[in-house]
């Protein structure tokens, strides 16, 4: 779906996607600026130019709206993994695919952050919110199921019978999460992609004691 040409989508579908993106972006921006508890569904809907009821047509909760872009990005990891050459070693494919989640989203390009340090501080507060953590992890689990399916396809295993694809998918998800948490803790100049590669390498090596 995400690779479909916009020219082939009707107006209806295009408007749906735009509305979804606007709601999600508004949710992220307001939450980072003000804090989770200071943003109501009504505020998000207003910022996106729709009614609160419409917000609920798209998302069941505020946290779900905030996490939507993250979900999109992590689902793309499964998609990218499916697109890697079949002959490529699994962990090499994974390393390439996993990077997809850290590419800058369109909104970040369209709305450059003027105060980067403040933005990061806001993000840190946002991810520390219990409801956000739950939703964030739940999105990760959804993507993980897709990654497991992709791993099963590549390795000839069965998601309904074997632990393996699930364990690999869990490792990929964990690597991404640990890299991001580490980055939020340490901040620049650490690079997200480098942290991710390191984490994946440690999993592939069997997590030997340093």
């Amino acid at each position: 779906m995400s690779t479909e040409d916009g020219a082939r989508l009707g107006l209806r579908e295009r408007k749906k996607r735009e509305t979804r993106a606007m709601l999600s972006w508004a949710a992220v921006r307001l939450t980072v600026e003000r804090g989770f508890d200071r943003v109501r569904v009504e505020d998000i809907a207003e910022a996106a130019g729709v009614s609160p009821r419409t917000f609920n047509n798209y998302f069941s909760s505020k946290a779900e709206a905030i996490v939507a872009r993250h979900l999109d990005r992590t689902l793309r990891v499964a998609e990218m993994l499916r697109g890697r050459p079949a002959s490529e070693p699994l962990w090499e494919s994974i390393a390439h695919a996993a990077r997809a989640q850290f590419e800058p989203p369109p909104e970040a390009v369209a709305h450059p952050v003027t105060d980067r340090r403040q933005w990061i501080a806001g993000v840190q507060l946002m991810v520390a919110e219990p409801a956000m953590q739950g939703e964030f992890l739940r999105a990760g689990a959804l993507a993980e199921a897709e990654i497991a399916a992709a791993v099963a396809e590549r390795t000839g295993t069965d998601v309904n019978r074997d632990l393996y694809p699930h364990l690999v998918a869990a490792a990929v998800t964990a690597a991404g999460n640990v890299a991001m948490q580490h980055w939020l803790r340490i901040g620049p100049p650490a690079e997200m992609e480098q942290l991710l590669s390191e984490a994946l390498a440690q999993f592939a090596a069997g997590l030997p004691t340093p």
Copy 2:
């Protein structure tokens, strides 16, 4: 705290613990019997013999009450890990400690399930609930932070600087989750502990392709 002698606790503290356990157990039981959306906070409070406002003094949400026992059990993994002999190889310690989460809780012993198949079906529905998944994973993340701290202690690494303890903790959490999901999917005669051991062994081996 959990190892403290009950005789040393005041009435106040004892009653708090009992109330918490009653609320949590009532939440689990009613939800498994009726389904998540058919149980209100008021029902749980009534079943435990307290007011709804008191329920909220203990738990912020229904899901949190349901997941409380799981949180207790997974936190015990970190505790058990801290108690293993320092000379023991890390993954061996982990394998022993991780089993703690699958010991039958007191209530399960006190209230034997009469229809095991129906109970499992109810649990399956319960864990499929989105709010439950988020809370379940969030509890896992809390325990994971404790496990990471315990791993750091054993290996002389630093949770604020190194990825390693976090990655190991994530592997432990993932192994537990994957084992449980597999068990819920497959059911008896698969044994939870065996699945867990297998999952941990795969992580320690670097997740080689089968």
